[in-house]
Symmetry: D2
């Protein structure tokens, strides 16, 4: 049995989500924390031959040069429990990962993200040059760490929506476009291409374009790689995806659904730019309509309040009509650490993707839809049905393995 | 095809739930309202041959003598929309139903409910005499209205928990006990016996004992009748049954779940008696534990505030741990009309029960579990899975019918 | 003693606030409702010789031609109690008032408000012509109803912010500007001029420009008239003005204060235009800063959701630091009828203004500051101190009267 | 000028409030934290000659033997910010204080508190013997630390309500009663007597009986000592005392006010005993009624949820009627650290009491009413008026000092 190291390559490797995932992985290896928050640790997935946490090795791309251990400490300091000791114990791993973080690219990330870059990033590359440079970083990591399978995960800040109207639909055409500095592909898509070209898997945990274009899916299938996205479903939208079906199944008519999100981490700062915010709001807003089958009044707002740090608060107000047309109200307030909610899902996705890849899966992975706000190609947004699909997949995998 | 009238016999026929169901049925017949709030009107149940609303005729038992139309107007006046015209248009039906309401029994209902009784109710009956008298009322209704199938629904106020330790497990033994004034069976069970003895169906929409005892189930099966319960899942508990699975499926650890309910209708007044409240709290509290598979700290409180009337407000506070043990919080506030939420479910249950009975179903109806807080014999409390079971049953019924 | 009728002239006479005030006044005259919500009915103001409700007569300007009784019925239908009978009983008064409503002006109201106008409104007037025409309407009302004192109240929708940089500071100069169609004065200011020129009082219940310019204050003083504003403090901002002082007095440091308002009445529809919204948000946002003496992160959003109608919901989230820098949170949700909160304050302001005028007061009325979000010239925004000022004024009035 | 050390003697010296106050005082002395949360640091009190933080020395009584530094670390660990470094830096002071903590008494504290005692506490003392023993501890502290003035503060857990019907009204009679083991005075009153007998000041920060009896007030005046209480107003009740006046001043009719409190610290564990809870609920519930001048439906519940630790959450639901009788709702959720809210008030009270004592004040200190839920002898519960009284007192003190 193959027991070579498994690579996790994080795009945005010093951001809140990546920092927390790196800390969490180190803490899992040291047995400092339990399985809470990890879907892949649920009983129904224990019969799969998922890789153990000690086999994973992390590297990544980033545009900011602050020490990783500082970023981790900053996030941990906002967690509302004392994690200082855990951070201290994991310091060796954090420093090790930090040494494997390479400068990324700012092509197409918009001016707000670009303004955060303080690493030494080549400024005049064509997209093709960027892909090649990034690819060399990944290849070097694979070589140095003797990586078997590798999963690249995009957890960098949300890019402004890209203009996809001019994108060709085949990989052959798209590849030619990479020569062109006017190529509309943003960084997230270049990272995806870089990963998939080498047969590595790619997960898009953000609403950025990434691996969404058909031509990139074709590339994945050509290289027999796995990929999926987009936009991790961690908090308010997760709750929407369990409450909206409830209204539908009781034939209660949702009149309006308002969601107001406030938070203050780096992601929030980037989303304070209306260009970047647009992609995020769209990804959060379509769900209710799609689950209900009709369009109530909906509003999603996201506001940046630096004092809240990573602590995201969402207030949702649902106005609905019941029998006889009587109007009623459900409100909820969700208070959680954005990064801490996302990080374990990143680890789960890596683990499940590595397993799927190992078993020969190729292309998109729709059984992972429940992890995403806007799963590619999906029309089912009810969380329970998405979860059932994942369980069914797991159960089918077992059967096929002769368990 | 049989198109004889279908009887709905309501226990607690002038209470908030019954009043609203009666008004709603009349409004449906007159086309004054749409299908909102009615589960049986969902697309996935339209291929069943469910009876049309115009075939239903209502009667019932009650212990209070206020005119039904006044009770309906009182509830409608608290609905937060103007229903006065609907009430006025339906007045003829309401008066008609009122003439079919007969004095019930106060055996075993506890002193708070008994104190509300102002109808002329025989005070010294044995349980058997009560069952016989109540049975004559139902039989007279069936005869006068030329009823084909009949469903009895208990929507009266919650009784104190009955002492079931002495209850025999067979109908033969239980029947003998009815002679005894010390028989521990409360009114709700006597109504159940009265219905099932004549082969009518029985639905227990409250947490009272009703048809729960094994001996009464035996009676139902002997008479080839259908029955099920208990305690309609209308608001806070419904939401628990969709949120708790979400925490479980994300492996988030619920540390505590507190639910605080305030309202001021007749039900609230009865539940203000600690004896009656005990049954209700137990029925609301077990769910979270059963869905999660472990026991977080839980608290359910129900408080009577007369100024709120039928307008129930529930505040729930869920404290949970995520990845790395980080504590987070979900709170929700539910504001709705208790009776308006319950009434359409009563109509749905009657409609689905009549259909099941017509198709030859006998005994308990576990496919209706999703309508109840404490479905008999059920271990599955996730609302999505309960709903899937209902859809599956509906789909099987179609198939069997050759649709 | 003078007992001639007292005039109330409402600008926006068929809007939600005006409709509710007109209905309420009629209901007060008929003894159908109690004093709830009326500040001037509090014990501490009973020794003033405030005019009785039966002396007030209402007329007004409006740009929409829908019958007043329909507007009143629409608002009453959203009140969440049954007011249909009250409306029916007051119908004669409502019809009488309707006959006294005259076409207003749309000069400077912005295109969203102008688009609502369906009355026959002269389109090419100079500001002076408008003032003269509007003045003739008021004069005719005074004559026909034998009005003694008159108070004009602006309760029309919020105008976009006017460009006041070019406004002269004296009435003499401003008056000349009225000839000019490019004059930047919006309708609200023309109504103010029209009232004050004739020595009537003027109250600006909105954040529109109205009587705020120094030149208009000079006019008021020249004509010995009373005036004040602006923007009635009815809900969320009222609560801010009692909670913010609490944080200040306990030396708790407010880190951020977010207010999210949702509602769906005509006002909301107008505020959905970003131009009109700007004035409102500014008026709601300055308070916290001014009370605390430092500037936390603040955000106020106002969103239009037609399904909510007049039922305004505000969610506020206050993030603050306590001892040792520990971060804590206060959230509140306010659910109320916007018009029903505002209407009694309009009646109070009219009553108190008439009294002040009668006693010889001239110019601005700072003792009324507590009724407004942005009281002219005020630096004190703590509601308790504002209220104390009102009480002190009332007490001084009594003393002066030899009580 | 006298610059001798000032003593703070804490009853319940290792509880959450005391621990936080001790940590905070040490941090203030070291300049590690700012003035946030300290009322006595507000600008309006800076002209008083309040003692500097470095003059205060802490000791106290306790019944539990856990090391103080552990209790401090436990509380700090729940504060939701990283205070571990602050605790570490203050460790020397914490250990020093710990050495000055002496075994208290469990007379009359109820069985829940008594069960927590693991220090070596004499079990068979008469009340007089206890007072004498406790007095010797205090005297020894005064001597060893060369204390000038001393303030004793009761921050121990809430005792069950004492039966005060048999209490004599003079000190002479009460003193004789101390010989009797059946004397109904609980520990809190014995500590008060012990302090006041020696001319020290006493503050009762809890709803326990303490210094409330008239006979103990007589003792204070005989010894020319200062004292006041009771029950620190830190969170939910503080908010009630600013919101209730708002409803009153707008003539809005409060129909019901429900407050639901959940938390999990030692105090919460003690209040989980219905006997202890009774005193607390009464102290929290009277306010709304007294401020409004009428009695709406009110409910206060306090529930113990160990997972919440010191993090208290209160949900309040206010149902009120506005103009025309229209029902509306205000809800708030308060989330804060119970101990962190209380601790600075303890320091403020000590500082203000020492100052008042120094200036010759004797007996109760009604100018401190705003710090308490149930201030002795007070009828004014509006927080703004209470605060104004404090400001007025401070201003009078300055004037008298010739500032």
């Amino acid at each position: 049995m193959d027991d070579s190291p498994i690579g996790i390559w994080l795009i945005g490797a010093k951001g809140g989500v990546a920092s927390t995932a790196i800390l969490g992985l180190a803490a899992l290896k040291r047995g400092l924390i339990g399985p809470t928050g990890l879907v892949s640790q649920l009983p129904q997935f224990q019969h799969l031959q998922l890789a153990g946490w000690d086999r994973f090795v992390v590297g990544g791309h980033e545009i900011r040069q602050a020490p990783l251990v500082d970023e981790v400490a900053r996030i941990a300091g906002q967690s509302r429990i004392e994690l200082a000791k855990v951070v201290e114990q994991c310091r060796p791993e954090l420093e090790e990962v930090d040494r494997r973080i390479r400068p990324g690219t700012t092509i197409g990330v918009g001016k707000t993200i670009a303004a955060l870059a303080d690493m030494d990033i080549p400024r005049n590359e064509t997209p093709r040059q960027a892909v090649e440079r990034l690819g060399r970083d990944v290849a070097e990591f694979v070589r140095a760490e003797k990586i078997g399978r590798l999963v690249v995960v995009n957890v960098s800040s949300t890019e402004p929506p890209a203009d996809v109207s001019r994108l060709p639909s085949t990989w052959a055409e798209l590849e030619r476009l990479l020569e062109d500095k006017q190529c509309p592909l943003p960084a997230s898509s270049l990272y995806a291409i870089c990963a998939l070209k080498s047969g590595h898997s790619f997960i898009n945990f953000t609403p950025s374009l990434g691996d969404a274009p058909a031509a990139i899916d074709e590339l994945a299938r050509l290289r027999r790689a796995c990929h999926y996205g987009c936009d991790g479903k961690t908090g308010e939208t997760l709750i929407k995806s369990v409450l909206a079906p409830m209204f539908a199944r009781r034939n209660l008519q949702v009149l309006s659904w308002v969601g107001h999100n406030i938070f203050g981490n780096m992601d929030g700062r980037v989303l304070d730019d209306p260009a970047n915010k647009r992609a995020k709001v769209a990804s959060k807003d379509h769900l209710v309509h799609e689950i209900l089958g009709y369009k109530p009044n909906t509003l999603v707002s996201i506001e940046y309040l630096p004092d809240l740090g990573d602590w995201k608060t969402a207030w949702d107000h649902v106005h609905f009509a019941g029998f006889l047309g009587v109007p009623m109200t459900l409100q909820f307030t969700w208070q959680g650490s954005d990064s801490v909610l996302a990080a374990p899902l990143v680890l789960d996705l890596v683990r499940l993707t590595e397993f799927a890849h190992r078993r020969g899966h190729v292309g998109q992975m729709p059984f992972l839809a429940g992890f995403f706000k806007s799963p590619y190609g999906a029309t089912e947004h009810c969380f329970d049905r998405q979860f059932e699909t994942l369980e069914q997949w797991a159960s089918d995998c077992e059967t096929a393995s002769g368990h």
